[in-house]
């Protein structure tokens, strides 16, 4: 579905922010883009969405090059879910979601009954229909984020591009958003999200991409590529990836370690336990 190959971009000559980025997302897949601040994640999203024009490379959605499309057409392929922004005026949630229909509207035309139906359906699918007449301004961060996801749904695009959808949210709302994303992916949408929580890659994503210095270090299933070593390298900070048995499943979590010596001890323990395992097997 989304096929990005060898994407290059620089804000100033000679300082490349994206150094040949390639990855792909299929229908029903959620890709979690991980990387430290200033590594080019947001720039990558901006290139995908057409806010910046890439210097080289291709962005294909279902085989069509979106960089050559007019904004109106591109909006039917890619929808953007920003971090919950503020809107200065008292729009209702329904009015905000209705904005997503603008790409399907000829200049001067009024919204049709079909537009209204799409908006209602989008809000129902995300279980926020009861908030339709509430003012967006007065909503909590989690509710706003859901409204923005509904707006992207109403846009009727094939791929959602989400900039840190779980930032500034509490556990309850993080879980709500991640659950909604899994549900939407299950219905055939492709989703690209950035995150500062590698845990979320394990919880909800089918793919992870590790970005460092403007290039992707690794792309693949979270279980395979999100490891203590890769995260420690990615963030230049000791991170331990462990697993916990919950209800018969192994849930992986990431723990940043404040102290290098603790990290060294953890590593030694891991090796020790492997030796222990080996000795058990021998016995």
């Amino acid at each position: 579905m989304l096929d990005v190959s060898n994407l290059r971009f620089s804000y100033r000559r000679g300082r490349e922010v994206l150094k040949g980025v390639s990855f792909s997302i299929d229908r029903g897949e959620i890709l979690c883009l991980l990387g430290s601040n200033g590594t080019g994640k947001t720039t990558l999203l901006r290139c995908l969405l057409g806010f910046e024009k890439p210097d080289g490379g291709r962005i294909l959605v279902d085989g069509e090059d979106v960089t050559r499309m007019r904004l109106e057409r591109r909006a039917r392929y890619l929808a953007y879910v920003p971090q919950s922004t503020s809107i200065a005026f008292p729009y209702t949630a329904r009015e905000v979601v209705l904005m997503g229909r603008v790409a399907h509207l000829a200049t001067g035309a009024s919204h049709t009954a079909r537009d209204m139906q799409v908006v209602d359906e989008a809000m129902e699918r995300l279980q926020i229909a009861h908030l339709a007449e509430c003012r967006y301004q007065e909503m909590s961060g989690g509710e706003r984020q859901m409204v923005l996801v509904a707006r992207a749904l109403a846009q009727d695009a094939r791929l959602l591009v989400m900039d840190e959808p779980t930032a500034n949210l509490d556990y309850h709302n993080q879980v709500k958003i991640l659950t909604a994303l899994k549900y939407l992916a299950g219905q055939g949408l492709g989703i690209l999200m950035t995150s500062h929580y590698p845990d979320h890659a394990f919880l909800a994503c089918t793919k992870a991409a590790l970005m460092k210095g403007g290039a992707l270090v690794d792309v693949g299933p979270p279980d395979d590529i999100v490891t203590s070593e890769s995260l420690t390298n990615l963030y230049d900070t000791p991170v331990h990836v462990g697993g916990t048995f919950v209800g018969g499943l192994v849930v992986k979590t990431c723990i940043p370690l404040l102290d290098e010596t603790v990290y060294a001890r953890v590593q030694a323990d891991a090796e020790g336990s492997q030796e222990l395992d080996a000795s058990f097997e021998r016995a």
């Binding site: 200065a88 008292p90 997503g100």
Partner: protein
């Protein structure tokens, strides 16, 4: 029809009815007494062919003086309110309007310069439009250079632009002939409908209708800009085109208003917020409601001026009433704005 659509049209009906009542009552105010029924008969006499039972003087005062003045105040109040509403929505900033962005001062400078050179009416209007456009572009560019997302930066840029053009207006005033041109420029700049006649009406009406039609055609795209430029782009809206449309339409309306009635401040700032409390923020609804509310607002102000038999400038009174209203709005909504 959906429930909330019906509620919107009921509100619009009430606003329109209020406008009509205030409009008709406005004819009663003045040095010549008249009843509302007489007013209606005089106004409709040209259409229905009622035999006049009133004097020729009354006819002249009603149709030649009060009709253009009162109709112009509806048109100008509505135009200023709509241009304020569209600037606010498209710049995502509740604290801007034609006067804050310097459009009024720029248009005032253009018009004053044209008056100084003894230009004809439509030349004055053109000069006002050019001056207003230059001012708003200047304010926008300064604001964009200083900081894109900051609400106060754009306001500050507008204040700077406004001061700059006020200074230019002062230069025009010092150059102007102190006996003939200066008094008229000074008085007209403070806002006055006294000179408004049917010719003004004929020139202003098409400009306002055209601007409103343009804004109406782009109403849904204008709304999307309230979410921010990047988001609008991601939803498929060509941001520069929509901004261009708003700037041209709003500046045209403001320039017309300024060239007819001078600088009348605060309507464009305050009335859209009042209209939002009535019909909500959606621009397709705000367009109508702010026009009607702006018309009612300026009609009432003009009525106060005329019934006090004073030559108090309109701009002074709109500022006297508008500023406390703005402070009230600011207190009520400060959490959402700051």
């Amino acid at each position: 029809m959906r429930m909330r659509d019906r509620r919107f049209w009921v509100k619009m009906g009430l606003l329109a009815a209020t406008l009509v009542v205030v409009y008709l009552c406005s004819f009663v105010i003045g040095s010549v007494d008249a009843s509302v029924s007489l007013v209606v008969d005089v106004l409709l006499s040209r259409l229905t062919g009622i035999e006049p039972y009133w004097s020729a003087v009354t006819d002249q005062i009603m149709l030649g003086v009060r009709f253009p003045q009162i109709t112009l105040s509806v048109l100008i109040g509505g135009a200023l309110a709509v241009s304020g509403a569209s600037y606010q929505t498209v710049f995502k900033n509740p604290m801007v309007s034609s006067d804050i962005l310097g459009v009024s001062a720029g248009a005032g400078f253009g018009a004053a310069l044209a008056m100084l050179n003894g230009c004809t009416w439509w030349q004055i209007q053109l000069a006002a439009f050019v001056g207003g456009s230059v001012a708003v572009l200047l304010a926008y560019v300064i604001g964009a250079v200083l900081g894109r997302q900051n609400l106060t930066v754009l306001v500050l840029a507008g204040v700077v632009t406004s001061s700059f053009f006020q200074a230019l207006i002062s230069i025009v005033k010092t150059v102007a002939d102190t006996d003939s041109v200066l008094p008229s420029i000074t008085f007209w700049l403070m806002g006055s409908l006294n000179k408004g006649d049917n010719a003004d009406l004929v020139l202003m009406l098409p400009a306002v209708v055209l601007s409103l039609a343009l804004l109406f055609a782009f109403r849904n795209k204008i709304d999307v800009l309230a979410a921010g430029e990047d988001e609008a782009r991601s939803m498929g809206v060509n941001v520069n085109v929509v901004k261009g449309v708003v700037i041209v339409a709003s500046t045209l309306m403001t320039a017309c208003a300024v060239s007819v009635a001078g600088i009348i401040g605060w309507i464009g700032m305050v009335v859209p917020h009042i209209a939002r409390t009535i019909t909500g923020a959606s621009f397709s609804k705000l367009l109508g409601s702010s026009f009607l509310a702006g018309g009612i607002f300026l009609l009432l102000i003009d009525d106060i001026v005329r019934s006090s038999f004073s030559d108090l400038p309109l701009g002074v009174l709109t500022a006297l009433i508008g500023t406390p209203m703005f402070v009230f709005l600011l207190i009520r909504t400060r959490k959402e704005w700051v």
